[in-house]
Amino acid sequence: MVACAADGLEPEAALRFDHGGRTFVIARSPEGGYFAIDGHCSHEKVHLADGIVDGHIIECPKHFGAFDYRTGEARALPACIDLRTYEVKVEGDAVFVKI
């Protein structure tokens, strides 16, 4: 699935991507790499794309649960359940996510 244009996302930022009734977040690391994880925080249904990206961490905008978007690992309470990660490939100027 094409999630976004490669130049549509600056480093240390994230955006929302919806597909087939599911929602994901595409995050770009400070080094420029692209990553994809489930869009909703595992604590409550709040979209992580509305939160900030700080280094390799994406943070819930409401309760400050945090995840390493490279591994999906929950890194700060109240989030304690890891999120699923999805394979990402950049081809040409498009970012593809394998769902």
Binding site: H47, D50, G51, I52, E59, P61, K62, H63, F64, L77
Partner: protein
Amino acid sequence: MVIIGAGPAGTSAAIALREGGWRGLIVLIGNENMLPYERPPVSKAILIEETDPGPKLLVTPERLAELRIDYFQGRNVQSIDRAANTVTLSDGAQLAYERLLLTTGARPRILSIPVAAASRMATLRTYVDALAIRRIISRRCEVVIIGGGFIGLEVAASAVARGASVTVLEAGPRLLTRAVPAPMAELIKAKHERSGVRIETGATVERIDATEGRSKVVLADGRTCLADLVVVGVGAVPNVELAQAAGLAVDNGIVLDKTLATSDPDIFAAGDCCSFPHRLYGERIRLEAWRNAQRQGAAAAANILGANRPYDDVPWFWSDQYDQTLQIAGLCREEDVRVSRDLGANGQLFFYLCGDGRLVGACGFGSLSAIAKEIRMAEMIIGRRLAPTPEALKDPALNIKHLLV
């Protein structure tokens, strides 16, 4: 280790103590007959949802067992004996402590006006309070809310969503006087009015009578409103009586030093019940906020374990009103210079700069996606004591993240 109060401050402290290496017993005492739970949904999801979603637990019983935290539920503490280092419960049981943490929270302030015994009144703090309100607003009825603060407005939003007819009576000249700037209070008021809530400011309630099974709210100007339920949301008072009776210093909350110790080095406190000096504001503050309770509890735990770190988290608060959200970072004080950033239909941000140019407060109202990142960045700017220019803060085209460097 004895912890009195099992809200977010006490519970996060208990967990942090064990995870941080406290070897002895940890006793967490809660005065409600249930496991520790999250309070924010009490004025939101628990009132609004078609079926009661139930309390959202802060910790599972399995996790409590795993961490060897002894949870005493539905128990009240009678007194603290500082000379003997013991706590006596109201059923006579006695517990010895090496360190004591007070996370006793706050309770709803009650009205000091005549109220007929037969009138149906409610305040909102606990899950049980929410169930009582929920039972009434789940059918067509008239609800009068006294107090245009956050609790009153969240109940108003929930009740009107359930089909109730809702009136908010605020004694002051506008809503949310202590919490947000006037123009933002106007936006919030307009949102409520569009949703069907009647809002009256400058409305002082003189007394509440009962008539034919309903409550009659009598205003100072002689007008009356009938209600099936009157919800009083006129602020909260810190639960300091135990501390006071034990001879600890109290001044708008249990007085703490910057490491969250009370005037007795064996006793710490955290959450809504305490007041503490804050490096960013040069004064003592007391907060009534979910995130502060959680983080301050964990910080007190770290200091009990010997970290000796001043607690200086930037205050942060949020409230949901319909599909809009309000977030506040730092303190928005009238005496500071206010700068606004207009996000058009998406919302509005306000920033507060103090005399030396530092950003000390920021608040936003709008969709979560429009304001959350900006307020979070503002929080980081506040914490780092930076002084962005008013021009940069005003400009909606400028990413606040760029002001961090």
